[in-house]
């Protein structure tokens, strides 16, 4: 045969030999050479008979065979692994449970991060192109931004949250939605499931109002009827036509805080949308419009931000704004396509706590499992040594041991993920104490599943690889020899297992302390005195404007209701109020200055509460100085206000209080809670630019202001004015009633309300106790979580320590036997074993304290905004390590006692 003809054969043979090297070690050892030989003999006849096709077939045959053999070995390993795991149920169950809890907690942490921070707007394509203004703006400003078609392919503006009184089935339901520009849906690039969306024509005022409803609204309230388009719905007492249904899963541009089930154009007349009263679309001082823009390709968010900033500055110059010369950015852009619009640089701040704690728990669980694996592997040292000496490859043995750990990890991963789904489902149901329905979908999606898979794999490797490597690194001779397990250990040497144990102790202590701080902080909050008597106090919310009444009609109605309710025998006091104690306020605060103090006046800040004149009496808040509100104070132009005790203490110690005059505008009303969307009051009456002068007529006792009860805020109380009737806040106006104990006060009040006007729809009826409980519920849930995690870490650490000690005792049986034979007492032996454990515990405690200190510093930002934490609470700092140490030592003592019962004769014989 010519060389040319032989070439394919030679090449094929070379390939074949290379492939044969890919077989698993054992197969290669046993049959590799022979296989190649046979092929060398057979390849010529095959080439002659079948040509190239025969060579291809030959190569295909081995190419398929190689993975099959590998899989067969894997299958063998898995069966062997399962058998080994079944033989030691104790280890298997403990490892499964602790790892699945660890994986569950880590995945929960990720799921929360994912659901809150990383999740994109549902139903919106290309969300990464969207940017939004961090703070709402005015409509004229928006119109200027809109003109920048060089930056944005499309923009939208909307008002949120907007409550709509929708007449459904005879009663008025409070449904939340947005007031939107016509470009809303086109900017978000969504298509209607039914009908159509708004178009430019709707911008012209005067036409019959049209609305779009969400898919779920259509399903729940319109019976998923395909003829729903064209139907008329009464909204805020006015008929509106449904022109379209939104796509499935789409709940608006900010479904986290501002879920939208109804969309109405901003061009509707004011009676339907009280938010738009007082020429809201023309005023520059009413900054209540959220804006979202879709960036053109090639335009970065930074460039957009800078350009918009320039627009604002130009407008300030044009209109001669007072602070046009002030420095600082006017415009900040955030990602508009995420459920929670947080800037990239701010994200770590939110994700830190969760991921750190989740990671810690997983670390502890892994250390535990690794330690147990090490112990098991050490037990099998002789078996492994024999197999190695008989020719088994180290790689194969490592793979076998790894398979076991991966099996445990896989089982734990499945259990852990199931647990995660359940826990996140519970968490998603937690109601937040906001006036509008805040809903975050925390259920794990495929991101979380991938994360769980990744974590599971890493876990299996983490706790399996090192023990596997260590076990197979055995120096064969001492392992094979009888008694080869003696290692007279000096406790100073840091073996791998001891190192892991230290890790675990330190991690557990850190976890315990950190979660303790968080939990303690919340406990402190919940236990604080509220500052008023919350018993027998009831709250009923009303929103006549959204039942179809005008502001003046509403005022008359309220007068009547209040009068009738006060006359009820079961009612001892009643008031109307906008603000309610212990609630997430509708506004953040006001900035005030001393009236007439000249240019150098100091600006001061206080929380604002708008209350009815009998508020203090009804709530049981004592007036410490001066008087409460009177009827005259509710007239337009009246200037009376009441301040809180704390405000006086902060700003006016030793000064005259009563009769003091202060000036209030709303330049940048801000405050701790203003950062949270939906707590900012956008009403014209509030945001109007006019500065007013007020006079202090009374001082009230302090009341718990928000989550951080021990952190006080200065507060100013304003009386209700006509504007509050015309434009009620998001929670409507609340009727607060103090009743006689043991009577159904709410029932009688509701009867009076319907007797006054059957069209009024009371909502959110609750007792003060329920209000407080609901307010605290999210905190309570958090406290529970922290405590649970801390306890879990504690248990894990104890179990781990017990295991290590038990193993140590078992291992040192021979040594102990010798010592006892040489005259050591039982107590000496016990002391020997306990000493080693005690050193580990102490070292772990020290390291844990150091980690805790670092952890607190890392998380201090989050800590102090969530709970009042006395940074180094002595009780916790001493108590926690003590608790952990004692538990750990007890855990060690039990197996250590076994060492005392070792029979020296048996021990010496067994080796």
């Amino acid at each position: 045969m010519s060389h040319f003809q032989k070439r394919p054969v030679a090449v094929s043979l070379r390939l074949y030999r290379a492939l044969a090297r890919a077989f698993p070690y054992e197969f290669k050892n046993a049959y590799g050479e022979e296989l190649v030989q046979v092929t060398e003999d057979a390849i010529e006849p095959i080439w002659q008979r079948h040509g190239v096709l025969g060579l291809v077939r030959l190569l295909a045959d081995i190419a398929v065979r190689v993975p099959i053999e590998h899989l067969a070995e894997l299958h063998q390993d898995v069966r062997y692994g399962l058998r080994m795991l079944a033989k030691s149920p104790g280890f298997t169950w403990v490892a499964l449970v602790s790892l699945s809890l660890g994986i569950a907690i880590a995945t929960c942490a990720y799921s929360e991060v994912n659901g809150l921070i990383l999740r994109d707007l549902p139903g919106v394509p290309n969300p990464e192109e969207l940017v939004a203004l961090q703070a709402p703006t005015s409509y004229p400003n928006y119109k200027r931004y809109r003109e920048r078609s060089d930056l944005f392919s499309s923009t939208l503006a909307y008002v949120a949250p907007v409550p709509f009184g929708v007449s459904l089935g005879g009663r008025t339901e409070r449904i939340w939605g947005h007031l939107v520009t016509p470009s809303y849906f086109s900017t978000l690039d969504v298509r209607p499931a039914l009908g159509q969306f708004f178009d430019q024509e709707q911008e012209q005022s005067g036409r019959a109002p049209v609305i779009v409803v969400s898919y779920r609204f259509w399903q729940e309230h319109l019976g998923a009827d395909s003829s729903a388009v064209g139907k008329t719905l009464r909204i805020n007492g006015q008929p509106c036509t449904v022109i379209g249904v939104g796509p499935r899963d789409f709940l608006g541009a900010s479904p986290g805080f501002f879920v939208a089930d109804v969309w109405m154009p901003v061009s509707v007349p004011a009676p339907i949308a009280p938010e738009l009263a007082d020429s809201a679309l023309e005023r520059r001082d009413l900054t209540m419009f959220q804006m979202v823009g879709r960036l053109k390709p090639g335009i970065t968010a930074d460039r957009g931000e800078a350009a918009l900033d320039a627009v604002v500055r130009q407008m300030e110059q044009e209109f001669g704004d007072a602070d046009r010369e002030k420095g600082g950015r006017r415009v900040l852009l955030v990602p508009g396509g995420k459920v929670l619009p947080i800037r990239k640089q701010d994200r770590p701040y939110f994700t830190e706590v969760l991921m750190i704690l989740g990671g810690l728990v997983l670390l502890i669980a892994c250390s535990n499992a690794a330690n147990m694996m090490l112990a098991r592997a050490a037990d099998r040292r002789r078996e492994i040594a024999v197999r190695l000496s008989l020719g088994a490859s180290r790689a194969r043995l490592i793979r076998q041991l790894l398979t076991e750990s991966m099996l445990v990890a896989a089982g734990a991963g499945v259990l852990g993920f199931i647990l995660t789904v359940w826990l996140m489902h519970l968490a998603s149901q937690m109601r937040m104490p906001y006036p509008m329905p805040v809903a975050f979908d925390l259920t794990p999606d495929w991101h979380a599943l991938l994360f769980a898979l990744g974590v599971t794999g890493l876990t299996g490797l983490a706790f399996g690889l090192v023990p596997a490597l260590q076990a197979t690194r055995t120096d064969l001779t001492p392992a094979l020899k009888e008694g080869g397990n003696i290692q007279l250990r000096r406790h100073r040497r840091l073996s791998l297992r001891n190192g892991l144990m230290l890790c675990q102790m330190a991690g557990s202590l850190t976890l315990l302390l950190l979660t303790g701080f968080l939990g303690l902080g919340i406990q402190t909050t919940m236990g604080i005195q509220q500052g008023f008597d919350s018993r027998n106090l009831y709250l009923i919310s009303l929103d006549p404007v959204r039942d179809g009444y005008s502001g003046s009609q509403a005022e008359v109605l309220f007068e009547k209701i209040l009068e009738r309710v006060k006359r009820l025998p079961s009612v001892t006091a009643a008031t109307l109020t906008d603000a309610v104690p212990v609630a997430v306020g509708g506004n953040a605060g006001v900035i005030f200055t001393d009236a007439g103090a000249g240019e150098e006046k100091a600006t001061q800040w206080a929380r604002k509460h708008v209350v009815g004149k009998d508020y203090f009496e009804t709530a049981g808040i004592p007036i410490l100085l001066g008087r409460g509100f009177r009827k005259q104070d509710e007239a337009n132009g009246a200037t009376a206000i009441i301040v809180s005790q704390y405000l006086v203490r902060v700003y006016w110690t030793g000064q005259e209080v009563l009769g003091r005059r202060i000036e209030i505008g709303n330049d940048e009303a801000s405050g701790g809670f203003g950062a949270v969307p939906g707590t900012f009051d956008f009403r014209a009456g509030v945001l109007g630019k006019k500065r007013h002068v007020f006079e202090v007529v009374g001082v009230a006792k302090d009341v718990a202001e928000d989550f951080i009860a021990s952190k006080k805020h200065p507060a100013i109380y304003f009386p209700l004015h006509a504007v509050d009737y015309a434009q009620p806040s998001l929670s409507g106006l609340t009727l607060m009633v103090r009743g006689v104990p043991g009577v159904d006060v709410i029932g009688s009040v509701q009867r009076e309300i319907s007797a006054t006007d059957a069209n009024l729809t009371p909502f959110n009826t609750r007792s003060m106790t329920e209000q407080i409980a609901q307010f605290m519920s999210s905190l309570r849930g958090a406290a529970w979580t922290w405590n649970l995690i801390g306890a879990f870490g504690l248990i894990l650490a104890s179990v781990g320590l017990a295991g290590v000690t038990a193993y140590s005792v078992a291992q040192r049986g021979h040594e102990i036997g010798i010592r006892m034979a040489l005259g050591a007492q039982k107590s000496d032996v016990l002391g020997l074993v306990m000493k080693e454990s005690a050193v580990l515990v102490m070292a772990g405690t020290l390291i844990g304290m150091a980690f805790t200190w670092a952890g607190v510093r890392l998380m201090s930002g989050v800590f102090f905004s969530v709970a009042s934490v006395k940074a180094f609470d002595p009780a916790l700092l001493v108590g926690a390590p003590l608790l952990l140490a004692s538990l750990a030592l007890v855990a060690c003592y039990v197996p250590a006692r076994k060492s005392m019962r070792i029979d020296p004769a048996m021990a010496l014989r067994e080796g």
Partner: protein
């Protein structure tokens, strides 16, 4: 009785396995020899490719149907590089059982054919 149960667990036998066992029925053989014997016996219709063959050999050894032979043939026939295989007792019985099963099948097919011919 247990042996019967053991045999049944092997049936029906994979075709490749059957051919390998059949090759070793009369004599011990090495891998290449088995390949050739099967090829000739089936007139080229069945070719055991090397990797598949050795995969089968490995499994047959694991199942104790064949074993490596320690006796070598006569010097002039022997190839020192090669390993020889032979049937085990179990292997022989399994081969017999499979053959019987195949014979039964053929009998059934024959009977059916006769019936059809008789009917038509």
């Amino acid at each position: 009785m247990t042996k019967r149960v053991g045999l049944d667990s092997f049936l029906p036998l994979k075709p490749h396995w059957f051919h390998v066992l059949l090759s070793l029925a009369d004599q011990e053989q090495h891998g290449y020899g088995i390949m050739q014997e099967v090829l000739e016996r089936t007139d080229g219709k069945v070719r055991l490719w090397p990797a598949t063959l050795y995969g089968a050999l490995k499994r047959l050894i694991d199942e104790e149907l064949i074993e490596e032979s320690d006796t070598r043939p006569a010097a002039e026939l022997d190839d020192a590089r090669r390993r020889y295989y032979r049937l085990t007792r179990l292997g022989r019985r399994v081969l017999a059982a499979e053959s019987e099963r195949l014979e039964d099948l053929v009998r059934v097919v024959d009977a059916k054919r006769r019936t059809r011919r008789a009917e038509s």
